[in-house]
Symmetry: C2
Subunit: 634 residues, 2 copies
């Protein structure tokens, strides 16, 4: 698959954009007219730079408001087109995108449109240029790709074809199957963009909210499947107008963009295989049938569970105290590194003492159980995930590590069916437990339930694609949680069986404003079988619980009509409660140290959520603590 | 008019919100349930604090999903309601908002709804509580205020009335005139919110994009006029869900909110007077007729023009050089302050040398010609604009100053019909012009055309209301300008005759992220009669123009088919060009010093814009300069 990207997706100057596209490995680019007009590079400079960078200049775009106009306007439009054709010759480009008219068309007549497009095609032919005519979703008269193609057929000129753009097709819910009926020679270009499903005017949706494939909710693999089955072999190019991407770091966005096409290529091949299966064809037949080559990636299944979570600090005393009070056992220190292992049932927490001086406690890494760490790592690297290297001795387990968009380190570990981890043998004899601490018997069934990570606003969509493509997690519908300092956007990524649950939180801009990572609090949640017993034991060990206001319990009672003894227990132990049709959820939070805190949960029945109605209470109390701490500092 | 605000409008804890509301001068508040549930304050604490702060607790809200349900659910809902009525008694509150059911209603039957609401009203009566039933715009069966009122009439219970919310009514385009047919005794509460006109699902629109009155596009004065004519005298309370407000400084947002109600009160009185006029009534009759008292503000007309613009720097040499090269004349220094006066025609620029050490050049203040500075200042102060004090000697003109939301100082000056300013006499004899500089003859007709100010993202909406209410400028439809570092939102505020034009720019988040003000560039534009002559003279004086890329002129030619000699002149002088149906626009920019640059424009015919198609070129070239400067620094 030939990969491409429109320069309008990226921030910076044309030169910076081109360099970033080359670094990310794109085959070609679309030059967005404004990027050239505002550039200090001459067309000849751009042509040479593209050649030096190994980038094809695949599409000049957009040429707007051409068709369905009065004779006077047609004359001006042809003059304008000829100027652009001359410019394209200097750039060495041969394809231009012409969008269906949104502004100046006054005549709704296919015959007239075809005759005007024919004149354009004839003029283009004189310059060796191909015109790709595209139906914009909000085109005044032409807004349906089949209509655009009918016009192309009517004109029947070698220099006129069509451009298919997934946004303009899927935003209008047009059926994509008829794409297969288009003559592949007449598909001059294919643009892809994903988007969240929003109910708003399609122009605003298109101009601000497009995202890269895999970051939205469009059925892009199906769209691409039909394109491939039509016989198309040209560029598949991203055209994504997004307010965040166009102000983010250009090289990083280009890599995110490239990852989305690599992933889309794989998904398209899967869709084709599934479609062929459904139609009774064998998989051998598939490759013969479609001329576009689709590369494959190393295959991975969903991770089977969390292998470990790692927290890091300069001074780890508070973390050790919290874990001990929660009922975790200290299993000893690593034989060569300054890290400690703490466990409760199958929940493993590594305390890393190698943080920078004065670094506050924070979540540093997560380990996931996968079938094959090497295959999973190969896949992640093909998806352009940055590799994390860790020093190991010869006889120690080598962890395959990649860096997530928020710079959390992700380790791909060898899972074992019984939930144990071989690397724990690298840790020495358990040291002494702290004073008053003892191994908890109630924690035998404990596991890591979920981990909640704060995402910088520039990298939220990137993170969704990262975990989807590299780790095979599935994004759930997102939620918005009110907090005293703004709405927190909360995106759950999880496996089908819920064994791995990651919650990506986008903090309000005020909190996200700091350049420093981790201004927003993150946490690790552990699931136990009996939360009340766990909480009682923790209280006896002196754990500092997050204090839940009395008003909360009154409201809880008004909402759920709880048995009075149970309600009293909840309030006594600062437990939070939720209930839905599938089950119940009990949980509590610890105080925060640095930017990290812990949660203990108990899931009853098939409860699959995270106590969302309680999140505002947690945010409010934590906000209150921060305000007090800040007052005391000043 | 009794003023109120819902706590959900503001950031922070309930305590912080209440304090901010008291400081801003609200009569009462609505307590949003979640703010109480998450609060560590007991209901009794809240009651006492409100009494101490002089705040009425006017509405408890919201009670959701009550009506149109099955018998089982009704029982649970009545139990839940009784718990809330008990809570309200402890708070000393007597009115609760009940929204029409959006989630759990299964029966669409007005008879059933009325019977269930009657049971609620009866229970409320037992607790001395009044129920205000409101139609949500997205209510499952009840989404129209007239429908809600019909139910209230059917029930006919002293403890059941209705709540009118401008958002739920205006977002659905319901006719507001029938509000006057509602029995005023049955209007238990009125909520107001403004909003930009967006085409999107009404729930998202409501939850994220509401703004305070005067910051959006709803016809709120008309809505309020009908409410007043219905005979309503209760609270007029803001309920504004806005992503920005709920993360901004609470005290500042509360003041912005209060300003919006003061302004709305005046606009409502105006609407009533105009309506009475139209209906043939005299203005004397109006006050007798409606029981709600509407306070009035000191009246101002639109400003007649800019009186001056002031730039400030530690080292002013670069500013002096730029102005001199543009053709400004140095008119001397102030006799008691370290400021210089530079003029060109009627365009006056003050260079203030009193900036903090190492402060880069920036726009510091703007003077506007008003009919009466004292009246304008009184109005601004009643609208809670912060006052700016300037030291003056006994015989000097006293400037009335207020601080705009972005902290630019706004001075209200005595305009004179001939465009001169008396205070210029406070400046001494003109000093020597710099070497090679001489007074320009081409600048006789020069004026300040417009000023472009960068707004912090937290205060953009506040700024629109500030200039609308305090300075009588009119907001124009906003535009979005692409730049290499993101989209720039651009909001023009101007007088009807265009004599005062202010452009408020909201820079992309990346640029706005810095805590430091003025990271984004701002500028002052001067209009002259002959731009080509001005540019030539400036070039001879050695002015550093913003260099416009050659590609721009090629595109200009393709778009406008310009006369070759004219095009060559534009390119030779780095002039930009635009044309529309009403006229033509020529302009050029200077290099940037600190965060400020200058623009020279010539308006031909009735051209009323700002060369918007050229703004991306300006942004791109300035970005390029910043990147180079940054590379050189590192």
């Amino acid at each position: 698959m030939r990969t491409g990207i429109a320069t309008v997706c990226l921030s910076g100057t044309l030169k910076e954009k081109m360099q970033a596209c080359a670094i990310a490995g794109f085959d070609g680019i679309e030059i967005f007219e404004q990027d050239l007009v505002t550039s200090t590079l001459s067309p000849e400079d751009v042509r040479k730079m593209a050649a030096d960078l190994g980038l094809g200049l695949d599409l000049y775009q957009p040429f707007r408001d051409f068709d369905g106009v009065t004779p006077d306007l047609l004359k001006a439009n042809l003059r304008r087109a000829e100027a652009k054709f001359g410019l394209m010759s200097r750039l060495g480009m041969d394809t231009i995108l012409v969008c269906s008219n949104v502004a100046t068309a006054t005549i709704d007549d296919d015959g007239l449109r075809a005759s005007q497009l024919a004149q354009l095609a004839e003029l283009a032919g004189d310059h060796g240029i191909k015109v790709a005519y595209e139906a914009l979703a909000w085109g005044k008269y032409v807004n349906d790709y089949e209509h655009a193609y009918r016009l192309v057929e009517m004109v029947d000129h070698p220099n006129l074809g069509t451009c298919l753009d997934s946004f303009h097709i899927l935003s209008r819910d047009w059926d994509t199957a008829p794409i297969e009926d288009i003559n592949a020679d007449k598909i001059f270009f294919v643009q892809v963009a994903d988007a969240p499903k929003l109910t708003m005017d399609v122009l605003s949706w298109s101009r601000h909210y497009r995202v890269f494939p895999g970051e939205g909710q469009f059925e892009l693999a199906k769209f691409m499947g039909h394109v491939v089955r039509a016989g198309y072999t040209g560029p598949v190019s991203l055209e994504v107008f997004n307010d965040v991407f166009r102000q983010s770091d250009v090289e990083r966005t280009a890599v995110d963009a490239m990852r989305s096409l690599i992933w889309l290529e794989e998904q398209s091949a899967k869709w084709l295989a599934a479609a062929a299966e459904a139609e009774g064809g064998g998989s051998a037949a598939i490759r013969r049938r479609y001329p576009m080559e689709l590369a494959t990636l190393p295959k991975v299944n969903e991770p089977a569970g969390f292998n470990f979570a790692e927290v890091k600090a300069d001074d780890t005393a508070q973390l050790e105290k919290l874990l001990g009070q929660l009922g975790f056992a200290f299993e000893g220190r690593h034989r060569t590194k300054d890290v400690q292992l703490w466990t409760m049932g199958q929940a493993r927490v590594i305390i890393n003492e190698q943080a920078a001086s004065h670094a506050e406690p924070a979540i540093a890494a997560l380990g996931f159980d996968v079938d094959s760490p090497v295959i999973a790592s190969a896949r992640a690297q093909q998806l352009k995930a940055p590799v994390v290297a860790r020093k190991v001795q010869a006889d120690e387990e080598v962890f395959q590590g990649i860096s997530a968009p928020d710079s959390t380190e992700i380790f791909l570990c060898q899972g074992s069916p019984d939930g144990t981890a071989a690397w724990t043998a690298e840790f020495g004899q358990a040291g002494e437990l702290g004073e008053g601490l003892e191994r908890s018997s109630s924690g035998a069934g404990a596991v890591i339930d979920h981990v909640n990570l704060a995402q910088p606003w520039q990298h939220f969509d990137e993170a969704v694609l990262f975990y989807t493509s590299a780790l095979a997690l599935e994004p759930q519908p997102f939620a918005e949680v009110p907090s005293p300092s703004g709405l927190v956007r909360s995106q759950v990524m999880q496996t089908t069986d819920g064994a791995v649950r990651l919650v990506l939180n986008l903090a309000p801009a005020q909190q996200a404003q700091s350049e420093v990572r981790k201004t927003y609090q993150e946490h690790i949640a552990f699931a136990v079988d009996n939360l009340v017993a766990t909480a009682r034991a923790a209280r006896e060990r002196g754990l500092e619980f997050l204090q839940i206001p009395a008003n909360y319990y009154e409201d809880l009672d008004a909402r759920f009509d709880l048995e009075p003894g149970f309600l009293a227990t909840l309030q006594e132990l600062n437990l939070l409660y939720d209930r839905d049709a599938s089950g119940e959820f009990l949980h509590f939070y610890t105080a925060t140290v640095g930017s990290v805190f812990f949660e203990m949960v108990e899931r009853r029945g098939n409860y699959d959520g995270y106590g969302a109605p309680n999140a505002p209470v947690r945010h409010a109390v934590q906000y209150d603590h921060r305000q007090h701490a800040s007052l005391q500092r000043h």
